[in-house]
């Protein structure tokens, strides 16, 4: 029977048809989706913060950070039979739901910094970024279908769109 696997914060998972991968209620976190069309394998990593090096002990939770999540998800995909040269990447999330002023605000929101770190790391690994739905001030949910690579994204007030 087909299952929908929910990928929680700081976690990553790889799935093959008929199973799907999902994240419900995504905010400032960034979700990296990798897909190998030929192997029909999809991987999802759900990262909370931009860089592992900025946190003590960060290296022990690679999926938690946007930069280390790329290599970790790539390895998990390869271990399941995917080929790096066939993989394409998509990014979802990185919204800024709460805004503060003065001393409580930074020059860039956490969501922006997360998406930036993911993009930069994908570039460094040479993985093509084929779609992106990031930023804004609304939460998102997503479902990824490894059989045809369909990535469905929706918000509380918006109808679904496909990346």
């Amino acid at each position: 029977m087909a299952e929908v696997w929910r990928v929680g914060m700081a976690d990553l998972q790889v799935a093959r048809p008929p199973d799907r991968l999902a994240v419900y209620g995504l905010g400032s976190c960034v979700v990296l989706v990798l897909w190998d069309a030929e192997a029909k394998l999809a991987g999802v990593a759900h990262s909370m913060l931009p860089t592992a090096a900025a946190q003590p002990g960060g290296e022990s939770q690679p999926a938690k950070f946007c930069d280390t999540a790329v290599g970790a998800l790539l390895s998990a995909m390869e271990a399941a039979g995917a080929k790096r040269e066939r993989m394409v990447a998509r990014l979802v999330g990185g919204s800024n739901m709460f805004s503060f002023t003065g001393r409580d605000s930074g020059p860039l929101t956490l969501g922006d910094r997360n998406a930036f770190a993911s993009r930069e790391t994908l570039r460094a690994w040479g993985l093509p970024l084929r779609g992106e739905d990031t930023g804004g001030d609304k939460g998102r949910s997503l479902e990824m279908d490894p059989s045809d690579g369909t990535l469905k994204v929706w918000s509380a007030t918006q109808s679904p769109r496909w990346l």
């Binding site: 929680g8 914060m9 700081a10 976690d11 419900y24 209620g25 995504l26 905010g27 400032s28 976190c29 909370m48 913060l49 946190q55 003590p56 002990g57 960060g58 938690k64 919204s95 739901m97 709460f98 805004s99 503060f100 002023t101 409580d104 956490l110 969501g111 997360n114 001030d137 609304k138 939460g139 998102r140 949910s141 918000s155 509380a156 007030t157």
Partner: protein
Amino acid sequence: MEPGEKLSLRPLELDALREAGNMGAGRAATALSQMLGRPVSMDVPSASVLPLEQLSAPLGGPEALVGATYFRVHGDAPGRLLLMLGEKSLATVLTALLGRVPAAGQPLDLEAQSALKELGNILCSQYLNALADFLGFPLLPSVPSLAIDMAGSVLQSVAADAAESGAQALVIEARFRQSGQEVPMFLYYLPEPGSLETMLAALAKATGMDPREPRG
């Protein structure tokens, strides 16, 4: 304590923190009763230390719509405070405050938004004042930030924001209920890791609890 190191609390310490949360929630409930003109009860079911990534949505799952006011807390024990109301609670509270029912499925107008911010402001200030009296040092909330969105998205954003300053959080949860009606609200207090030790030291003094042994 080194950042990133896991702090484990003794049952006695968790009880003391829960008690502190109870006092805060009690005063917030009193303020809410006055604002709504009817009795509101509250309880603090739990104080727990958990990795932030395990924060999960209590109100009908991650996609349930909530109204959330979020504060940075400044002072001797800086942290974060989040107040979440489910969709039904939003309607109840706005009806009581504005005398009208917000249109279902429509974005909230500015008046409703500002009423919610004000509600958050009053409840959270009362909560922090009670906590500050108990601990013996001031805790000051920032200007509130409001989001009407999916519960999971709200909690996830708060967890990630808190995670930037430490690896785990103390979560003191408080629930409010109105007599006759199931209108839960949830309040979470997330002190920063260093703040937890400051609070525990103050609690030890206030309650006569054994202070923590110095860590070597």
